[in-house]
């Protein structure tokens, strides 16, 4: 039984109000952390905005990996497609309104999700993992080749978004981009909480636990997974678009295997099958990476590796999953 189903079973015992309370608490935590981040690192908002964009990627990965059980090492394909979609819209079609760029990114990500879903869902287990790897490399090579559209290995530069809503300029400090990112993250988080709790979300979780039984019930596992892939693509595309808007450049690294692998690492670090876990993993990993690589650029990869091994050995359900499990056990003991 996954952590998420357990959490929901616990939450179910307390009725609907408790779930809503958890949603509001989650939103409050996101906004609170955003304010704390803003106050603590006013000169490093670029890092925080990137963290927000990556958090969207990890959330979208959680939708397919944590809730549907599809292990993928190619999820950056959706993120990068979103980034390129909004970047190309801005550079080649003159769509420079940030919200429209965001919409382009979401659409591009959803289409990429559809394409990836069609290919990836044909296999299971190890071949599936390999398909995802092959896909991310294909996307990468394709973006590299189509350099008249994507700028190739130089990156797509010259993205100049208009002021947000006509008022808020994207300043040098990245304040506007940061606020946009946090609002986007909060909205997506709230929507995803609704999605994963809806009958559709429960169906996906059922597919993860036992696809044969789901088919026997008369539902189509593949259709459910495909829908989830498109939703996941939209979320990842939003993250990519946010990254394109805030950095004003789209590089090939947003379509890389490394980014895919890192996002999976962040997800498992935080704990799969829980939106809170995805957020926790992103924050912890990116801060860890930032601090360690600044402190000792030579050893940061070793440290990250050691962190991963330690998590597998001592917190196999991820940081959030393990903490939530401890809290649940303490609550049980007190009762």
């Amino acid at each position: 039984m996954t952590m998420a189903t357990m959490n929901d079973a616990l939450a179910g015992a307390h009725g609907k109000g408790h779930k809503l309370g958890r949603d509001l608490a989650g939103l409050a935590v996101i906004l609170g952390l955003a304010v704390v981040g803003y106050l603590l690192f006013p000169n490093n908002l670029a890092l925080l905005t990137r963290m927000t964009a990556i958090a969207l990627l990890v959330l979208s990965l959680d939708l397919v990996t944590g809730y549907c059980g599809v292990a993928t090492l190619g999820h950056a394909a959706l993120f990068g497609t979103g980034a390129y979609a909004s970047g190309i819209a801005a550079v080649h079609f003159g769509i420079t309104d940030p919200l429209l760029m965001l919409a382009c990114g979401i659409l591009g990500g959803a289409v990429a999700g559809l394409v990836c879903g069609v290919v990836i869902l044909r296999a299971h287990g190890l071949p599936q993992l390999v398909l995802t790897i092959a896909l991310i490399h294909l996307f990468h090579e394709f973006a590299n080749k189509a350099s008249s559209w994507t700028g190739g290995s130089d990156g797509l530069a010259g993205i100049a978004p208009d002021p947000l809503l006509g008022h808020f300029e994207f300043d040098l400090w990245g304040r506007t981009a940061y606020v946009l990112g946090i609002i986007l993250l909060a909205v997506v988080f709230a929507l995803l909480r609704l999605v994963v709790r809806s009958p559709f979300g429960m169906l996906c979780r059922g597919v993860k636990e036992d696809p044969i039984r789901i088919r026997a019930m008369g539902a189509s596992p593949k259709l459910a997974l495909m829908k989830m892939y498109v939703i996941s693509g939209a979320v990842a595309g939003a993250g990519g678009a946010l990254n394109a808007i805030s950095t004003q450049v789209v590089g090939l690294d947003s379509l890389s295997f490394t980014l895919s692998a890192e996002s999976l690492v962040m997800l498992v670090l935080g704990g799969t099958g829980s939106l809170f876990g995805a957020l926790t993993g992103t924050i912890v990993f990116m801060f860890f990476e930032d601090i360690v690589s600044a402190a000792n650029p030579f050893h940061w990869l070793t440290m990250v590796g050691a962190l991963l091994i330690a998590v597998v050995l001592f917190a196999p359900k991820g940081l959030y999953g393990t903490l939530a499990g401890l809290a649940a056990r303490r609550r049980e003991a007190r009762r």
């Binding site: 990996t65 292990a71 090492l73 290919v119 044909r122 296999a123 299971h124 287990g125 190890l126 071949p127 993992l129 390999v130 398909l131 790897i133 092959a134 896909l135 490399h137 294909l138 090579e141 394709f142 590299n144 080749k145 295997f257 490394t258 692998a261 999976l264 690492v265 498992v268 670090l269 799969t272 030579f298 050893h299 940061w300 990869l301 070793t302 440290m303 990250v304 590796g305 050691a306 962190l307 991963l308 091994i309 998590v311 597998v312 050995l313 196999p316």
Partner: protein, 288 residues
């Protein structure tokens, strides 16, 4: 004609190097059901040891190869006992995370110990130059790599099909619990086959150092290639792995020769096509 011939030779040599490295991964994956992303790291360790022995210590090539194989086994067996043993039977995600962690650590340590530069394994005189076949000449090293691949394939075939250990190994691959119940000491079978797999990886790392240059990010760069080959071939199958290596090696080499600007585009396109047509790998069995 000239191009076709040189593509064929290079493809064969590349495919054989791929085979030597990834056959160990295929066997351990079929046997222990571990998605071992750190396999490439062991090949890299082999390359480093051979390079150190041959270049810095001035030992002979044959001795350097032996040292690389056994040195890598000595390094890998404690890792198996301490870390891998805990993830047998764990979900795929956990295994991916743990083995990526091990890979990162090994990369970091290699970067610290040997620096970020390329390391070469100097070839002995006998393997330099080329052999004249009368109508064409081939680099001797390519022939050596192809011969190594054939020798490994033959030796493994003999070990698995003809020896008592091979019987136990096949039994454990088919059904580990039942084999254990019948008195096969699966722990020992696991440990021995892991050691053999790592040794072969190291051998492939040294022999293939000309084609896959040894540097700290070797482990990450080729990890995907090895995993792809094993999956396309079907985990646990020697003929499958051989076929996958030759087909994919051929496609990759031909792509690099004929349309170099596309990089690995055709390689991954072929992977997707093969996996879609044979979802269990070229030689995969139903029910795995």
């Amino acid at each position: 004609m000239q191009t076709v011939f040189s593509i064929a030779v290079d493809a064969l040599a590349y495919g054989m190097v791929l085979f030597v490295i990834s056959i160990g991964l295929s066997v351990t994956m079929g046997l222990m059901r571990v998605v071992n992303l750190a396999h490439g790291a062991f090949a890299m360790i082999g390359g480093y040891i051979a390079s150190y022995a041959a270049r810095d210590l001035g030992l002979g090539y044959g001795f350097a190869v032996l040292l690389a194989v056994f040195g890598t086994i000595v390094i890998a067996v404690p890792i198996e006992r301490l870390l891998y043993r805990r993830i047998y039977g764990a979900p795929e995600l956990t295994q991916v995370l743990m083995t990526i962690g091990i890979t990162f650590c090994i990369i970091g340590i290699a970067n610290y110990a040997f620096g970020p530069t390329l390391k070469t394994v100097p070839l002995p005189l006998a393997l330099q130059g080329s052999v004249d076949l009368g109508f064409r000449s081939i680099a001797t090293h390519r022939i050596f790599a192809i011969a190594c691949g054939l020798a490994v394939a033959a030796a493994l075939w003999y070990l698995i099909e003809k020896t008592a250990f091979g019987v136990k190994l096949r039994a454990a691959v088919d059904n580990a619990a039942m084999a254990a119940a019948l008195g096969v000491r699966t722990e020992i079978v696991y440990a021995v086959s892991f050691a053999v797999a790592v040794g072969l990886a190291a051998l492939g790392g040294v022999v293939g150092a000309e084609l896959l240059p040894v540097e700290p990010y070797y482990a990450l760069r080729y990890m995907v290639t090895f995993l792809v080959v094993v999956s396309v071939g079907g985990a646990g199958s020697i003929p499958g792995a051989l076929a996958a290596c030759l087909v994919l090696g051929g496609i990759d080499t031909a792509g690099r020769y004929l349309v170099p600007e596309f990089g690995e585009f055709f390689f991954y396109l072929a992977v997707i096509a093969i996996v879609c047509v044979f979802p269990r790998g070229l030689a995969g069995r139903a029910g795995q």
